[in-house]
């Protein structure tokens, strides 16, 4: 019951893919469940293969430091995940829903130093 309520709340709160701008706040910010769900997705969607299971990077950039090639605001991170980058980050908008991407953003935000 709790899970369903939570999922509904997220759908209600999340802006659709095309409506996210650099300044859009993460609708799931601060919600521990969202970061946990993002953690699971981070492994399941193979993000960890490039950015490492501790997010400190390897094949891809460190996600825990203050350096962001494509912007470190939640909306910018959302955009990078959804659209990919010209330097090889795949676009995930066809493989994850907007809510799932926000969960991954929440997880990354929870790990920022």
């Amino acid at each position: 019951m709790k899970r369903i309520t939570f999922a509904l709340a997220m759908i209600a709160a999340s802006p659709a893919l095309g409506q996210v701008t650099a300044d859009t706040p993460n609708p799931l910010a601060g919600k521990a469940d969202a970061a946990d769900a993002g953690h699971a997705l981070f492994g399941k969607m193979n993000c960890a293969g490039c950015h490492a299971y501790d997010l400190t990077g390897g094949m891809g950039p460190d996600l825990t430091d203050a350096s962001w090639q494509y912007g470190g605001k939640p909306g910018e991170i959302f955009h990078t995940i959804a659209e990919g980058t010209p330097r090889g980050m795949p676009a995930w908008k066809d493989k994850m829903t907007a809510d799932e991407i926000w969960q991954v953003v929440a997880y990354i935000q929870s790990k920022k130093q």
Binding site: G43, M45, N46, A48, G49, G58, M59, P90
Partner: protein
């Protein structure tokens, strides 16, 4: 332990790494001065002029042996920088310069810019630059930095791979593109980082992407126009792997039909990687090429029960047709990312009273194999560094006896598996001297705590599953540089280094071995005793292969890139790891050369012909 650490520190303060004589030092006596330790020799075909360096490993056999002797034990201490060249690209530098005639050829990491330098003029100015402009999407698909491990010269062309899955040929005299062929789809994961290898009218190239769910392949292209002469997939049906009637593996467990399919769960071979991204060697007598294959994908082994042929293996193929002659899987059902792509050095050794044509291969898994290259029989398989995943290699079956404690477990940390994924040695090529009969290799001393995760295949994303923490092995030093006896299967001497020794090596006719360290020291070592004779700190860590050549002034030079990167980046948070770089350093005795002496004192704008200082004349 504290005392040991202090002693180690003191040795470093003295400015010279100290050699440790192995049990193999002959009776504790002084090393033989002109005798071979082992009797091993090599066919040095194609037998280029002594001062030239026209292929990455100098010869088909992959010895990296130069017969030059101008720089010797007496004057090596006077090596100084003659000139340098910065290529501006900041990814890891791994290849060795080629010298053909009076021209030096360099190719940068991504974006794979080629330079021809005119060695006949002061300061070796640029003759031409070629910019291929590869697709930047390749940056995100390359597992281990955006590197290129080498480039090739043949038929008046400089030929090399681009990270975005092209091979390109450039006119060596003009720098104009002659041909470019597309060999795979970078958006799905494969890249090309391998050093193209040329023999006669063919260039041999292989794919990269062991962590990207790729379907690895190796192919021969025509040097004239780049068209594919033959192509062999590593895995899958025998027809695609060019496995037919000529295929005679030595061990029975590698015999059977379509093992590249049946040793995998249904269809998983299609994303089974096994990419041939390492070195190629060639035997002109047998007319065979030899190359290894990468780890299987995904790296989580519980997802792919079976032997997973032909991952983590070596192939012998007919150079003309590609028909497989034999194969040997070093690490069956590889559970630790022990790729089989390291160099195969082709030697002739005395073996039980007869001569055997062998290959010597330092595998990531920590065993050095001496294998009969005519039939694939393993003659010697001994640890050359720290490993605990296997008790031994059973020479009766060719199979490792795996240590039960080394099996990874999904979602559970298994501690202290040695070596970690990057191995006891990686792609960094060893050198062999026919004078000493020994091989010289940079090696790693480390282990991992490993937690495996289940992964799914997503095209273009990693297909990996290994979460690990690497730590240095006993002694606290991450690296060593060793001399190896390939007949007895034992170390002769070793030099401890702070970080992984991830550079290539070159050995000369004056018994000098050159290698570099990740903390930026370029060293010359006595090939017989392991005594360090000269060291120079460079501007970045060294992960490239050094080489040596004679300039147009008949003077011997030694060259190496300093530009740490590639897989060596796994130590980027360790003390002493240097920032990236992109400078080629060229050394000579006293730093003299075409750019010094009288020519140093004039502007080269409109200058007359450069003044050459004869060899052996120190400038004053």
């Amino acid at each position: 332990m504290v005392v040991r650490k202090i002693l180690f520190g003191a040795a470093l303060l003295c400015g010279a790494a100290l050699p440790v004589l192995g049990a193999g030092a002959p009776g504790g006596e002084a090393a033989p001065q002109n005798k071979s330790f082992t009797g091993a020799i090599a066919n040095l075909a194609p037998g280029d002029a002594a001062g030239q360096w026209t292929r990455q490993a100098r010869d088909y056999a992959n010895t990296r042996y130069s017969p030059l002797t101008q720089i010797n034990k007496k004057n090596v201490g006077r090596l100084r920088i003659a000139w340098t060249f910065s290529d501006g690209q900041m990814y890891g530098h791994e290849g060795a310069p080629l010298v053909v005639g009076d021209t030096m050829f360099l190719v940068t990491p991504f974006p794979n810019i080629a330079y021809a330098l005119d060695l006949s003029k002061p300061g070796a100015p640029i003759k031409w630059v070629f910019q291929p402009n590869p697709d930047p999407r390749a940056i995100g698909e390359a597992c281990c930095d955006r590197v290129l491990r080498g480039w090739a010269y043949a038929d008046g062309k400089l030929i090399y791979n681009l990270l975005d899955d092209h091979t390109v040929a450039v006119d060596a005299s003009t720098g104009k593109e002659v041909w470019r062929v597309l060999l795979d789809d970078v958006s799905k994961g494969p890249t090309m980082t391998q050093a193209a290898f040329t023999v006669g009218d063919k260039v041999y190239v292989g794919s990269s992407g062991g962590e990207l769910g790729t379907n690895g392949w190796f192919q021969a292209l025509d040097v004239k126009d780049g068209h594919t002469v033959w192509k062999a997939f590593t895995n899958g049906p025998d027809s695609g792997a060019l496995i037919g009637d000529d295929f005679k593996p030595f061990y029975p467990w590698m015999k059977g039909k379509d093992l590249g399919v049946s040793t995998w769960p249904k269809d998983m071979w299609k994303q089974g990687a096994s990419a041939p991204w390492g070195w190629v060697s060639y035997d002109p007598d047998l007319n065979e090429v030899y190359y290894g294959t990468s780890n299987p994908g995904p790296r989580t082994p519980s997802q792919r029960p079976g032997l997973n042929l032909w991952s983590s293996a070596v192939f012998a193929r007919d150079a003309n047709s590609g028909a497989a002659k034999w194969a040997y899987q070093f690490t069956p059902h590889d559970e630790w990312d022990y790729d089989g792509v390291n160099e195969n050095v082709l030697l002739d050794i005395p073996w039980k009273g007869a001569k055997r044509k062998v290959m010597v291969h330092f595998n990531r898994n920590g065993f050095a194999y001496t294998i009969d290259r005519a039939n694939g029989e393993v003659l010697v398989a001994e640890p050359f560094g720290l490993q605990n995943w296997a008790k031994k290699i059973d020479l009766a079956t060719g199979m490792p006896i795996v240590n039960d404690a080394a099996h990874p477990i999904v979602e559970k940390k298994v501690e202290n598996i040695c070596p970690p994924d990057i191995g006891v040695k990686n792609w960094n090529p060893s050198a062999f001297s026919p004078r000493t009969g020994l091989l010289y290799a940079g090696v790693f001393n480390s282990c991992m705590d490993l937690t495996n995760h289940i992964v799914q295949y997503i095209p273009g994303a990693t297909y990996d599953g290994m979460e690990m923490v690497r730590h240095a092995g006993p002694g606290g030093n991450w690296g060593e540089f060793i001399a190896w006896d390939p007949v007895a299967g034992k170390r002769i001497w070793s030099i401890k280094e702070n970080l992984y020794v991830w550079s290539g090596a070159v050995v000369t006719g004056s018994d000098l071995v050159f290698y570099g360290t990740m903390d930026g020291w370029f060293r010359a070592v006595d090939a017989r005793s392991g005594k360090v004779l000269w060291s120079q700190k460079l501007g970045s860590g060294i992960t490239a292969a050094p080489m040596t050549f004679l300039g147009p002034d008949k003077r011997q030079y030694v060259a190496v890139y300093a530009g740490v990167g590639g897989g060596a980046g796994v130590l980027r948070r360790e003390k002493g790891f240097m920032p990236g770089g992109n400078t080629l350093y060229v050394f000579s005795v006293d730093g003299t050369g075409i750019g010094t002496g009288a020519s140093q004192l004039v502007s080269h704008a409109g200058a007359a012909a450069p003044v050459s200082v004869p060899p052996g004349t120190a400038h004053n």
